[in-house]
């Protein structure tokens, strides 16, 4: 069985076995206690179509479905081999630490389907998985955008529409988190001159746990879907179809990856920098990844907790959030049941800072690329570095701007409005730095640079729509309209999608040794950017003209049919342009010309070694002797390589055991 050599296949088998085990365990225990297998005997499967059958057959067994899903993830991680070393350590067996293919004799490509400890392999794994999720989420968007293209259409049924927008939202967030993981895992060690992350095994675990997470999240669509939007507010989510549970669990596992991955980034940044790389000589992207990681490490726990509480409320009847829940002691009216506002506080305490998780790495990429392509120093390096930290920290204080109309205490509104508007200050610092860097530069309009500039233009739309939402008086009118949808798509495309694409084009020659096709890259840019402006301004326009968000249909009388059609067309153009990028990078490039070690004439550490990089990126220790962004200053150096190579490594190092 050669396929069993692939960790992914073993993981899936392990996952299925785990799922069956968990499901059988709960049902078996019920039967042993003399209870009926179904929790709710009134629910019967609808056998009219396969789709209806899947959507209804599992609902009566919800608690067993939940336990099955948890064991699915455990079985997957055991099967794929992500915990093998740790289980050995627990028995006192030391495990050698390998760089390079772990199973001798397997082809190079197989490394990407197995647990591999090299941060470069893991970075690529994150990236590919992220792009796959981007494809799934994008396809969903194309379907429901058809439904919205004209008023009063009946192309997608309301239930399916609700599931699709909910799935689109959370799958895209998963895609973004994976893309962020791709950039930080691939780039942080390279940029600080380290050969790997501080905890390579944890790194592999943090990647692989995303796979069961993404599978559960996607499968939620098939077992009944859910109708809550990505936010999963109770009481709606406590009455939603079964799919909402797999949505919760999928998010939970992806969140676990965020926590463990960011822990690794922080420790790596603190402990593994090259000699001479003081904090203020780190590349800006490392600062951004560091700030991001602080948010991910801490705040993620709160979305996990809030979703877990609804999950438990559904299967155990624990009344956290439903006001009508039973009260165990007798009447006393002044203490009610649960409180849905509490959910919103816990949820947004993560989910607002999370938006900075999405954008800070991308903004770091912009600051990274502008100096290279305008051949000028980064304007105000220290300010930019500190602004990432400031955004991350102030970001913890603004969450209730999502709750202005939720019914929370009125006195909370103004303080949260002020803190929200405060975020504009460090964000403005970044804008000024970008303009200052571009000012008077000799700009080369290569694809990565174009995407960095496009990102700035798009992020500007997102940034300008933020303050009207952060101001209570205007938000009362704009909340829950397409204006909000326009706002956050502009921030996320400007803060993540455009910079992520810029990064893909920019580091592609480094990773593969081949140069992408510049013409196709430019075509991608010139299709996607104007299309995005149309889509974004269109969303904002229909929002201010009465289009609610999360509504499957709208009336002729709103008079926004044409604008909606433009948004849909623009969406399809964006989708197509991304396909061009994928063809350019992953199909055509195999025959492309060689790129050379440093096609962009960058000062960064990773550009001083050959492309593609050797397994051990830095055979000799890089020593940092100057400033990172002194482009165009004659005679300035950033990095030197130690003259004598490190003592040749004899035998494999050993970790674990005691």
């Amino acid at each position: 069985m050669r396929v069993l050599k692939l960790g992914l296949v073993r993981g899936l088998l392990g996952g299925i076995m785990g799922w069956l085990f968990g499901f059988a365990l709960v049902i078996g225990a019920r039967l042993a206690l003399g209870l009926p297998a179904k929790w709710n005997p009134n629910l019967v499967a609808d056998t009219s179509t396969v789709w209806r059958f899947l959507a209804t057959a599992f609902a009566p067994y919800e608690p067993a479905m939940v336990v099955g899903a948890i064991f699915f993830a455990i079985g997957f991680m055991i099967g794929v081999g992500a915990v093998t070393d740790w289980l050995k350590w627990a028995r006192g067996i030391e495990t050698p630490f390998h760089h390079g293919a772990r199973i001798p004799g397997t082809p190079e490509w197989a490394r990407y389907f197995n647990v591999d400890y090299s941060h470069k392999v893991i970075g690529v794994q994150y990236g590919i998985t992220g792009i796959l999720l981007l494809g799934v989420g994008g396809t969903l968007a194309m379907i429901f955008r058809l439904q919205l293209a004209q008023p009063e259409l009946n192309f997608v049924q309301p239930d399916a529409f609700n599931t699709m927008i909910s799935a689109h939202g959370m799958i895209m967030i998963g895609a973004i988190l994976l893309g962020v993981g791709a950039m930080s895992n691939y780039l942080v060690p390279l940029m600080i001159g380290a050969n790997d992350m501080a905890f390579p095994r944890l790194n592999a675990f943090a990647f692989w746990i995303n796979v069961p997470g993404a599978l559960l999240l996607s499968s939620a669509m098939f077992i009944g879907g859910w109708n809550t939007g990505w936010t999963g507010y109770p009481p709606l989510s406590s009455q939603a179809p079964l799919g909402v549970q797999y949505f919760f669990l999928g998010v939970f596992f992806i969140g676990l990856s965020s926590i463990l991955g960011s822990l690794n980034v922080i420790v790596t940044t603190i402990t593994m920098r090259s000699p001479g790389m003081s904090l203020f000589r780190m590349p800006i992207f490392v600062w951004a990844a560091f700030a991001t990681s602080i948010i991910q490490l801490t705040a993620t726990q709160l979305i996990g907790l809030s979703f877990l509480m609804v999950l438990m409320q559904r299967i155990m009847g624990m009344g956290f959030f439903d006001p009508g829940g039973p009260v165990w002691y007798e009447v006393d009216k002044w203490v009610g049941g649960g409180n849905p506002i509490l959910f919103q506080h816990l949820f947004w305490f993560y989910s607002h800072p999370a938006v900075y998780v999405f954008i800070l790495p991308g903004l770091g990429i912009i600051s990274e690329l502008l100096p290279v392509f305008s051949r000028k120093p980064l304007f105000g390096y220290k300010w930019v570095a500190m602004s990432s930290m400031a955004i991350a920290l102030v970001g913890f204080l603004v969450w209730a701007h999502h709750m202005f109309v939720s019914g929370m205490s009125n006195f909370l509104r103004v303080p949260f409005m002020m803190s929200t508007l405060l975020v504009a200050v460090p964000t403005g610092v970044k804008f000024f730095s970008w303009l200052g860097t571009l000012w008077g530069g000799r700009i080369e309009y290569k694809t990565p640079m174009l995407f960095a500039l496009g990102a700035i233009s798009v992020f500007l739309i997102g940034g300008l729509t933020g303050p009207p939402l952060g101001t209570v008086a205007t938000d009362m009118n704009l909340t829950d309209t397409y204006f909000v949808v326009g706002h956050f798509h502009a921030t996320m495309f400007g803060g993540f999608v455009f910079p992520f694409f810029a990064a893909l084009y920019y580091w592609f020659p480094k990773a593969t040794g081949r140069m992408y096709n510049e013409r196709l890259g430019q075509l991608h840019f010139w299709l996607m950017t104007p299309a995005f402006w149309v889509m974004s301004l269109g969303q904002i326009f229909v929002g201010t003209h009465g289009m609610r968000r999360r509504i499957a249909s709208y009336e002729f009388e709103l008079g926004i049919g044409d604008a909606q059609m433009m948004v849909t067309i623009a969406g399809f153009v964006i989708f197509t342009s991304v396909l061009i990028m994928l063809a350019n990078l992953f199909v055509l490039s195999w025959r492309a010309q060689r790129a050379g070690a440093n096609p962009w004439r960058s000062r960064g550490l990773e550009w001083q070694v050959p492309s593609p990089m050797p397994e051990m990126t830095y055979a000799t220790t890089p020593i940092v002797v100057g400033e990172p962004y002194d482009y165009g200053k004659p005679g300035s150096t950033y990095v030197q390589f130690a003259p004598a190579p490190l003592a040749p490594a004899l035998g494999a190092g050993v970790t674990g055991g005691d």
């Binding site: 028995r91 390079g100 402990t271 165990w328 490594a649 035998g651 190092g653 970790t655």
Partner: protein, 205 residues
């Protein structure tokens, strides 16, 4: 691809220092989930608390705090290569931890089987509104940490029995110890929040 190693980052001292930093960051992260539950408690219960028997949780708390002392003794013992005290103290820690865990399960939660039905809650049930929800949420998440700590201690004890660990190399012991103290510390916040603060309302079943 050439296999190779990174000599600097393979030294035990370097790894231990790095592990330590990673562990503390993990604790920082967990502060937020425990903190979130505390927020839920004060949000939903305000100045009240369920009226629960006081003596059993007090005894369980004493057992847990005592276990931390023995964990500390185990770590000190291995640092001086006193293997006997080391393994014995570990075992005592695990026993006290298990007492706490079982106490929560069978006294506080009151797991019993009555006429073939699994029954939870001789004082308070998970379905008892916000009181049941928060009570089971907080004790449950904490108990999950306690039982994983006990398993960790038993694993370390087993390795110690077989001659692993020494005065110079005992990161495994240290990690288990700080984890255990951490779980203990969480209870120091949870116990008063659940059993002491606020006016008792209701009278149980």
């Amino acid at each position: 691809m050439a296999a190779g190693t990174d000599t600097l980052h393979d030294s035990y001292q370097w790894q231990t220092r790095t592990n330590r930093l990673g562990f503390w960051l993990f604790f920082l992260s967990e502060v937020f989930i425990f903190g979130g539950l505390l927020v839920a408690r004060f949000f939903l219960w305000g100045g009240t608390r369920p009226d629960l028997p006081q003596i059993p949780p007090l005894l369980l708390t004493v057992a847990l705090l005592l276990s931390s002392f023995f964990m500390f003794r185990a770590e000190m013992a291995i640092a001086t290569d006193d293997r006997k005290t080391f393994t014995r103290s570990l075992l005592l820690t695990a026993v006290l931890g298990s007492i706490f865990f079982l106490g929560v399960m069978f006294v506080e939660w009151g797991f019993t089987v009555e006429n073939g039905q699994l029954v939870l809650g001789n004082h308070i049930k998970p379905t008892d509104g916000v009181y049941g929800a928060v009570f089971y949420g907080m004790t449950g998440l904490h108990a999950l940490h306690v039982i994983s700590g006990v398993i960790g201690i038993l694993l370390v004890w087993n390795l110690g029995r077989k001659g692993h660990f020494s005065a110079e190399r005992h990161w495994g012991v240290e990690a288990t110890a700080i984890y255990w103290h951490y779980v203990d510390l969480v209870w120091v916040f949870f116990y008063p929040a659940l059993y002491l603060i606020g006016t008792a309302v209701g009278h149980g079943h």
